[in-house]
C-alpha cells in the first residue's frame, strides 16, 4: 500500500440501471421543505424498487424524519414531485392531490411505523381493534372479517395472539411495535415507512423485531424506507442507504459500500464514530 497525493479521486458516478427493467415503485425528485426560514429538506431525490429497503441515516436535525413525513403525505413538499407506481395514480405527483384523494392513497398504499407508539396507536383501544380499524376505514363492517384480519396481521407481525385484546398501553415496547407493524400492513400497502422502529427497545427485542421486518419485506415484496441513526439497524435491513446532513443527501450507495468505503468526509466521520 502506498500513500500518494493529497488530492481526492474524482467522485464516481453510476450509470442508470440497465439490468433492472421494472420501474421503481417509489420515486421522489427534488424535494424541498422549509419551515419559516429553516430549510429542513433540500434537493432530496430517491427511488425505491419493490422488495427493496432504502435506509436513511443522519444525525438529529439532518432532515431524515421530514423526508419520511413527506413520503407519508402528512404534508406536501414546497418543491418537488412524489410518485408511486400504483393503480390510478401512476405518474401523478401525489403532493398535488386534494385532501381526500391524498388521504386515500396514504391509507391504502402507505404504511408507517413510528418510533413512538403513541403516534401510531390508540393506546386505550384493544390491539386487535387498532388493526381492525384500518379495514373499517375502507368500509369493511363484518365483525368476523375484521376479527380474522386483525388476528392474521398480528400473527404475521409475530405478536402473541393471547394478548390481542389487551390495549397497547399495557404491552411492552416490543409488542407495541408489533401492533404498529400489523396495523401498518393490514391493508397490504406497497410502501412501508419505518421511523426509528427499534430505537428504545432492548437489544434482544430489537433483534426480534428486525427479524420480523426482514421476513415481511421478503414475503410482501414491499418498498421500505427505513430512517435510523443506528448503523447496525441499517446494516441489518437496508440494501441501499442515503446519508443526510443539513437537509441534503451528501452520499448514497449500497449499504456495505457506504459503511466500509465512505466517499464523503462527513460519512467517514459518521461511520467511524460508531462504537
Amino acid at each position: 500500500m502506498t500513500v500518494i497525493s493529497s488530492r481526492p479521486s474524482s467522485p464516481n458516478s453510476n450509470d442508470a440501471p440497465r439490468l433492472i427493467t421494472a420501474p421503481p415503485l417509489l420515486r421522489a425528485k427534488g424535494l424541498r421543505k422549509t419551515y419559516g426560514r429553516i430549510v429542513a429538506v433540500d434537493e432530496v431525490s430517491l427511488e425505491v424498487y419493490p422488495g427493496e429497503v432504502m435506509g436513511i441515516v443522519g444525525e438529529s436535525g439532518s432532515g431524515k424524519s421530514t423526508v419520511l413525513r413527506l413520503l407519508n403525505l402528512e404534508e406536501p413538499a414546497d418543491v418537488g414531485a412524489y410518485t408511486l407506481d400504483i393503480p390510478d395514480y401512476a405518474g401523478v405527483n401525489l403532493f398535488t392531490l386534494e385532501r381526500f384523494a391524498r388521504r386515500m392513497v396514504q391509507i391504502q398504499h402507505i404504511g408507517i411505523v413510528y418510533q413512538n407508539p403513541y403516534l401510531g396507536l390508540r393506546m386505550r383501544y384493544t390491539s386487535s381493534g387498532n388493526v381492525a380499524e384500518r379495514l373499517l376505514i375502507t368500509g369493511e363492517r363484518r365483525f368476523s372479517t375484521l376479527r380474522e384480519a386483525a388476528r392474521s396481521w398480528l400473527a404475521a407481525s409475530e405478536f402473541p395472539l393471547d394478548r390481542m385484546d389487551d390495549p397497547p398501553r399495557k404491552l411492552s415496547g416490543g409488542m407495541q411495535q408489533r401492533v404498529q407493524l400489523a396495523k401498518a400492513i393490514a391493508l397490504k400497502p406497497r410502501v412501508l415507512l419505518l421511523d426509528e422502529p427499534t430505537t428504545g427497545l432492548d437489544v434482544s427485542v430489537q433483534a426480534l423485531v428486525l427479524d420480523t421486518l426482514k421476513r415481511l419485506q421478503r414475503e410482501l415484496h414491499l418498498a421500505m424506507v427505513l430512517v435510523s441513526h443506528d448503523l447496525g439497524v441499517i446494516r441489518t435491513l437496508a440494501d441501499r442507504v442515503l446519508v443526510m446532513r443539513g437537509g441534503r443527501v451528501i452520499e448514497s450507495g449500497l449499504t456495505d459500500q457506504v459503511l466500509e468505503d465512505p466517499q464523503d468526509a462527513y460519512t467517514q466521520q459518521l461511520v467511524h464514530a460508531k462504537l
Binding site: M1, T2, V3, I4, S5, S6, R7, P8, S9, N12, S13, N14, D15, A16, P17, R18, L19, I20, Y49, E52, V203, S204, A207, L208, L210, D211, R218, T236, D239, R240, S252, G253, L254, D256, Q257, E260, D261, Q263, A265, Q268, Q269
Partner: protein
C-alpha cells in the same frame, strides 16, 4: 467469451482525516472464463481482499473497467447502478468471507437458507437444502436450530461457508474461506469448490494456504510491493 474482463482497474482510498490518498493497486488487467479459478496472492496487507471487494462493489473502484457478462446482458461493475449490483448479488455473484456475521436470535439453519429465500425459493424447498449444506460442512445437527452468536469460530465458519455457497452463482469471490476451518471442513469446502468449478462457476480467491487449492488454480494474480508505477511510490505504509 470471458465472464469477466478487468481493464486498468485501480483503487485508491481518500482518507479525509489524513488529507491523503492511499493507492492499493493500479491499472490491473485480467480476464476470467467460466470454470476458471484465479488465485490472488501476495503478502499480508498488500490489497488482495481489496481487489475482491472492488469487484463486489463493497469498495468503489477508483478507475478502470470490469465488464461482467451477466445473464441479463453485459455490464461494467465499476459504474453499474447500485440496484443492478444488488440484483447481481442476489442472482449471480457471491462473496465468501472469513467471518460469519451472525444476527441475534437467528438460527444457523435460517441464516443458511436466507440467500435462497431472498432469491425467491419457497421455505419448504430452502430448508432441506440448507440442512444438506450444513451436513456437508460437518455442523452437528444438534446445532442447526441454535443461534450461531454462541458458536465457536470454527462452527461459525461452517455456517458461513454453507450460507455463502448455497445459492447458485456464476462468479464467486473467496476471501480466505478456509481460514478458521479444521482439516475435514476444509476438505469438504475444497471438494465443493472443485464441483462448482466443473459446473462452470468462475472463481477468484485469496487463500491463506494456497497449496491446498493449487490443483484447482488456472491462473494467478500476484501482488508485489513495489509493483505500483513509480509515480505512485511515495512511501509505504502498513495497513
Amino acid at each position: 467469451m470471458p465472464l469477466l474482463t478487468v481493464e486498468n482497474l485501480s483503487k485508491r482510498f481518500y482518507v479525509d482525516q489524513l488529507q491523503r490518498e492511499i493507492a492499493v493497486f493500479d491499472r490491473l488487467s485480467f480476464t476470467l472464463e467460466p470454470g476458471q479459478f484465479i488465485l490472488v496472492s501476495g503478502a499480508n496487507g498488500i490489497g488482495k481482499s481489496t481487489l475482491l471487494r472492488c469487484l463486489y462493489r463493497t469498495y468503489r473502484p477508483s478507475a478502470g473497467r470490469a465488464i461482467y457478462e451477466s445473464r441479463r446482458g453485459s455490464i461494467d461493475l465499476v459504474r453499474a447502478a447500485d440496484v443492478d449490483i444488488a440484483l447481481l448479488r442476489r442472482e449471480e455473484i457471491g462473496f465468501v468471507t472469513q467471518f460469519l456475521r451472525p444476527r441475534p436470535r437467528v438460527s444457523a439453519l435460517e441464516l443458511v437458507a436466507e440467500p435462497l429465500l431472498a432469491g425467491g425459493t419457497a421455505l419448504r424447498d430452502a430448508e432441506p437444502r440448507a440442512k444438506a449444506m450444513l451436513e456437508s460442512f460437518g455442523l452437528k445437527p444438534a446445532l442447526w436450530g441454535a443461534y450461531p452468536t454462541m458458536f465457536s469460530g470454527g462452527e461459525q465458519q461452517r455456517v458461513n461457508v454453507a450460507r455463502a455457497l448455497i445459492a447458485p452463482r456464476r462468479l464467486l469471490l473467496l476471501d480466505e474461506p478456509t481460514a478458521s476451518l479444521d482439516s475435514s471442513a476444509r476438505a469438504s469446502l475444497i471438494a465443493r469448490l472443485r464441483e462448482l468449478k466443473s459446473d462452470g462457476v468462475a472463481l477468484v480467491g485469496v487463500f491463506h494456504y494456497p497449496d491446498e487449492i493449487r490443483h484447482l488454480v488456472d491462473g494467478e494474480i500476484h501482488f508485489e510491493s513495489g509493483a505500483l508505477p513509480p509515480e505512485l511510490e511515495a512511501q509505504n505504509v502498513d495497513q
